[in-house]
Amino acid sequence: METALSLTVGLFFIAGIYLMLSKHIIRVLLGIVLFGNAVNLLIFTAGRVASKTPPIISESAYLPAGATANPLPQALILTAIVISFSFFAFLLVLAYRAYNDLGTDDTGRMRLAEPESENPPPMGY
Amino acid sequence: MKNWLGILLLTLAWIALTGSWTIPNALLGVVLSVLASSFAREQRRRREVALRPLRIAELALLFLYELMLSGYRVARLVLMPRMELRPGIFAYPMKVERNFEITLLANLITLTPGTLSVDVSADRKTLFVHAIDCSDPDQARRDIADGFERKILEAFR
């Protein structure tokens, strides 16, 4: 299982990175989403897939009956998912705002902070 | 406390979804449903709704039957090596006029064989229905008229 998952993770990363390299901010955002999923899968895989039964203890028992999936990575991923989603939401709104304020969705043209036409520093004393 | 029916339904739904049949939970459900229905946009009604439980049951049964049927029809249609299709949209003049009746009708039509309600005209008198087999629109109109629409009218008047 880990092998297949590693492969998938690799593919997710490839797709995510390729999209993030785009000029268009929306595609960058899509890339970020893929990247995030890749990371979640990665952490999950890193915790190994020992068993496929959910780590839930039945009403009666005090211990899970037999082996369960590794709960710790799941907890970590849950934290990470929520965090990355709030980041994603922020970025989305930021992109929208940038489009409104800067009039473009092409990051190559967002040149207010570092303008295209900069003067060299003053040379005199 | 106008639409106690809605509140009852909501409460039942609540209990069902929470899945705990305890008195406090039920009460909580009631409270929530009251709140919800008070938030809901109140719609004007001409006549007080008359409920005929038996008829409603009939309607429900008919509906379930039709649903199964439609599922089967679709299955047969798509699994046939070559589908003969004569789809189209026909206008259906409604007798029902109250919003919830129209809604109900539209939804039922959508879930029943070969038909799919697309839109309601602005004057809320005509229903546009898409049919997979639109070879004979009048036949289809008739089916609806004697089928669901009549049942609805019986059920709620």
Binding site: - | G19, P87, A122
Partner: protein, 122 residues
């Protein structure tokens, strides 16, 4: 005994449901235009998921779970047509043409576009 019955029934329902789902998706592929596909999805698709949820309701001994599953079924039966209806309306409004083989479009001819802003019905 009861268990066996439950299991068998659940199994049958499951198979039934999955078949419905399959047919729906096949229809989604095979049917020629959006509206016809919508028939497949909105009917067989909904049916499939509902049947399988019912199977779940039948199978479990946990009353809460049963009611929940059934509630879910009711929910789907309510929402599926609404969403289908909305989608169809939207598609038509956005000028999505019917399949060339369609026989009639009263909608286009009849009280056409101008009424498009008509009241939503839910």
């Amino acid at each position: 005994m009861i268990d066996a019955l439950q299991s068998t029934l659940a199994a049958i329902l499951i198979l039934l449901g999955s078949v419905f789902a399959l047919t729906a998706s096949i229809g989604l592929i095979r049917l020629p235009d959006f509206y016809t596909r919508m028939h497949a999805a909105s009917k067989a698709g909904t049916l499939g998921s509902c049947v399988m949820l019912i199977a779940l309701a039948v199978y479990t001994d946990d009353l809460a779970m049963t009611t929940r599953a059934l509630g879910g079924v009711a929910f789907f039966l309510l929402t599926a047509p609404v969403s289908a209806h909305l989608l169809a309306k939207a598609a038509h409004a956005s000028g999505l043409k019917l399949w060339s083989g369609s026989v009639a479009d009263d909608y286009a001819t009849g009280q056409g576009r101008d009424k498009m802003a008509g009241t939503d019905v839910q």
